[in-house]
């Protein structure tokens, strides 16, 4: 039944804060089984868009559908299919990693035995089992990302929405996260993630959308967007960056 629906569909999503437009009408179709990269410079509206897509932020206009289920009209079904790792949001960080996983699992209505088994595996694979009863607040940045990912994966969602999953993560952890996500997509899942690291996007994604100034500038498969150039060139051209001429900031060089 879900075959004909895109994994995630956004229609005319718009949001402004105090009269300042953050997202100005975003349409996006994320095909099921794709590895989708949402690219954009800082302040482009990536986090705002993803927050509206998963039900964390009420849009001023437009809607979002997860496998055909309206996130805002039928949140219960839609949220069951979703796994989310928001950025810039605290975890319940005065729990230990194990406690946090148990909390998320039970909150999703999972069977305690399944929670126990999956959480043990996740902690093991993500190399978090050694942390024991250390509270998440005392974790390093990379460990926090990993436990966040584990919380999003625990209930076996069909669609995974990750905001900046590779931010502040060391190369070892990043490689681990990449492997897990690849396996997840190979197993039929869909991943949508935001990033401004071209190299990661180029390596992982089947589809790309470039967001700047609150609107989608380019969208399509990686090949379509990139053409015969590098993704970085396309990105800089679309976003309209400037390069330093060397005249200003002369005092930086002795």
């Amino acid at each position: 039944m879900t075959g004909e629906h895109p994994a995630l569909a956004l229609r005319g999503l718009a949001k402004s804060f105090d009269g300042k437009v953050a997202v100005a009408g975003v349409d996006l179709d994320v095909p099921a089984g794709s590895f989708y990269g949402l690219l954009g410079p800082n302040g482009a509206g990536k986090t705002t868009t993803l927050s509206m897509a998963v039900g964390l932020l009420r849009p001023d206009a437009g809607g979002a559908w997860v496998l055909g289920h309206d996130v805002w009209a039928d949140p219960v079904t839609a949220k069951q299919l979703l796994g989310v790792m928001p950025d810039g949001v605290r975890l319940f960080d005065r729990l230990s990693g194990a406690e946090l996983l148990a909390y998320h699992g039970l909150l999703r209505g999972m069977d305690p035995a399944v929670v126990d088994q999956r959480a043990a595996e996740l902690l093991d694979v993500l190399a978090l089992a050694d942390a024991g009863r250390t509270l998440v607040v005392d974790y390093s940045a990379g460990m926090k990302k990993k436990i966040g990912l584990a919380c999003a994966l625990l209930h076996g969602p069909r669609v995974l929405v990750l905001d900046e999953p590779f931010e502040a993560v060391d190369p070892v952890s990043a490689a681990l996260i990449r492997d897990i996500l690849k396996r997840y997509v190979a197993g039929g899942g869909t991943v949508v993630f935001s990033s401004h690291v071209m190299e990661v996007v180029q390596r992982l994604c089947s589809h790309v959308a470039i967001l700047a100034g609150g609107t989608i500038k380019r969208v399509g498969t990686l090949e379509q967007v990139r053409g015969d150039r590098s993704l970085e060139d396309v990105f800089v051209e679309v976003v309209g960056g400037r390069t330093a001429t060397g005249e200003e900031l002369a005092w930086l060089s002795r």
């Binding site: 979703l82 319940f92 148990a102 699992g105 039970l106 209505g109 126990d116 002795r254």
Partner: protein
């Protein structure tokens, strides 16, 4: 063209307290920008403060205006002393300190500790309460002026300003020290004991004061006042009267006492400031405790709720229960309930008895503890306990996103939060009822006292469920449990007052029943009170849960700190 990266020290312009004050004003102004309701609330709060200040001004100027200098020293010493005590203790118990300028933000700047402390101190002086207190205590200047002419008025003015500095320095030092104690997990129990002792020592002081006033032996009371006048509590406030009454030699000595105290307090504050600044960077690593046994689900559930079913409700209750203990901010609230819950009823019910606790005599005397008075004091404790939840989602901050993403139904959420909080509060309330009943020598009253407590607490939970969903505000993400955003202070005060008034109205039947039903109430009070409280709490969670279901994303936005 090229200039050295490190400029010579001579080019660094000194940073003065003026910069801190300007920064604070700017931050306050920016907080108001585009938020009309905040400006309105701020104005209302300021007006209320002004109203009380003017009232207190005339109260303190009364001896002068009436031309009766018998009471002048008395009023100055007691009113001033109470003001200082209030500034020391109220931030700990109720209001928190305004941390518009979070010390941690200055950690990386090349500022000497002295610059930082004087700057933050100057910034702390810029607030509505300081202005209100300054205005109120200026009444002392009028009194001194009437009796001693211009010179006395001038000395008194200097004294009042010094006294205000003492108040602000004291508030900062005490909250700073207490916060850094709470931060370290090892001494948190010690901190609880300290607060308890502090508050407990207030009780006897109060009793002494009440007893003394009842005696109407003004000479003896004036003697007490002159002793207080020589402590830091009263020294700055009494200098004007001293000059007016011909003890000019006392003024410089008392001012010196005040100044030494201020410097000592600032030094104490500066020590805890350092730990606050470092603490923000790293809260200190906790020991990893490996060797965990059992599955993750078993780890989440504390032993006290081990019997709960392993489902969503159980998970929510367990997480909340752990948070009430592990989060310094929440723990500070629990300690407050325990301390205030014990000592306010004692104060109220001993008010008329003075030092002698004699149940036979005490019962017949007017103003002694009666079922109505006891019920009223129980009502206050219940109110105070429940109002802690007025911003329960604010405690979570942006972490609440996890519950939004999981789509937790509102009713379930509120019921679980109430259950977890009650795990701590209900035993405390039971202790309060038993201890107070025994202390006032009326063990048969335990039943209806507990009934009044639970009824008020339950009604308060219902009211505060709504308040927490509709009137949530974000708390700053600092390690100081007493910190709050400027602007939020007034909001917090208004919401708390509103919630308390509504709860009081809902719980009023318990007091009425105690007044009207007489002996029947002794055994009917407990079952009726408990039924009323539990029913109210469940109904509140049921109705407020519906509202929460419709407002989850909005609530999340409210409690997420702006960065």
């Amino acid at each position: 063209m090229a200039v050295p990266v490190t400029a010579p020290a001579s080019q660094v312009r000194p940073v003065s307290a003026r910069h801190f004050v300007k920064l604070k004003l700017r931050v306050m102004g920016n907080n108001f920008r585009g938020q009309g309701w905040r400006v309105a609330l701020f104005l209302v709060g300021s007006l209320i403060g002004l109203w009380f200040a003017v009232g207190a001004f005339f109260g303190l100027a009364a001896p002068g205006l009436a031309g009766d200098d018998r009471y002048a020293l008395l009023v100055a010493a007691f009113a001033g002393g109470l003001t200082v005590l209030g500034w020391l203790l109220l931030p700990l118990v109720f209001f928190g300190v305004d941390e518009t300028l979070d010390p941690a933000r200055f950690a990386l700047l090349p500022l000497s500790r002295r610059t930082l402390v004087t700057g933050l101190f100057a910034a702390a002086l810029v607030s509505v309460p300081t202005v209100a207190v300054l205005l109120a205590l200026s009444g002392l200047v009028v009194t001194a002026g009437v009796f001693g002419g211009w010179s006395a008025a001038l000395v008194s003015a200097v004294g009042v300003v010094c006294g205000l500095l003492l108040c602000v320095a004291g508030a900062r030092a005490v909250t700073g020290a207490f916060a850094s104690m709470l931060r370290s997990r090892r001494v948190r129990d010690l901190a609880a004991v300290l607060l308890a002792v502090l508050a407990a020592s207030l009780g006897p002081l109060q009793l002494a004061g009440v007893a003394a006033i009842q005696d109407t032996d003004w000479d003896r009371l004036t003697g007490v006042a002159s002793v207080i006048g020589w402590t830091p509590l009263g020294a700055p406030w009494t200098v004007g009267i001293d000059v007016a009454q011909g003890r000019a030699w006392a003024a410089p000595v008392k001012l010196l006492i005040t100044l030494v105290t201020i410097v000592a307090l600032l030094a104490w504050w500066s020590r805890s400031l350092e730990s606050a600044m470092v603490g923000a960077a790293s809260a200190g690593p906790t020991r990893a405790r490996p060797g965990v046994t059992g599955g993750v689900v078993a780890q989440l559930f504390p032993r006290a709720v081990g019997r709960l079913r392993r489902d969503r409700f159980g998970a929510l209750v367990s997480r909340e229960a752990r948070y009430w203990w592990r989060d310094a901010r929440r723990r500070a609230n629990l300690i407050t309930i325990a301390v205030v819950g014990l000592f306010v009823p004692v104060m109220v019910n001993f008010g008329g008895q003075g030092f002698t606790i004699d149940s036979d005599q005490g019962f017949s005397a007017a103003g002694d503890s009666s079922p109505v008075l006891v019920s009223l004091s129980m009502l206050f404790v219940g109110l105070l306990a429940a109002v802690t939840l007025a911003n329960q989602f604010g405690f979570d901050g942006s972490a609440y996103a996890a519950n939004v993403v999981a789509g937790v139904p509102g009713r379930l959420e509120l019921r679980a939060r109430i259950t977890a909080f009650s795990l701590y509060v209900l035993p405390m309330l039971a202790v309060v009822a038993v201890v107070i009943a025994l202390v006032i020598g009326e063990p048969t009253w335990i039943g209806f006292m507990a009934g009044a407590l639970v009824a008020t607490y339950g009604a308060g939970l219902a009211v505060n469920s709504f308040v927490s969903v509709l009137g949530a505000y974000s708390l700053p993400e600092t390690s100081n449990p007493f910190a709050m955003n400027s602007g939020a202070g007034v909001v917090k005060g208004m919401l708390t007052l509103l919630a308390m008034a509504a709860t009081g109205a809902l719980a009023a039947p318990m007091v009425l029943a105690a007044a009207l039903l007489g002996d029947t109430w002794l055994w009917l009070g407990l079952p009726l009170g408990v039924a009323y409280g539990v029913g109210a709490a469940l109904l509140g969670a049921y109705l407020a849960g519906d509202v929460l279901d419709r407002r989850q994303p909005e609530l999340l936005a409210l409690v997420t700190p702006r960065r």
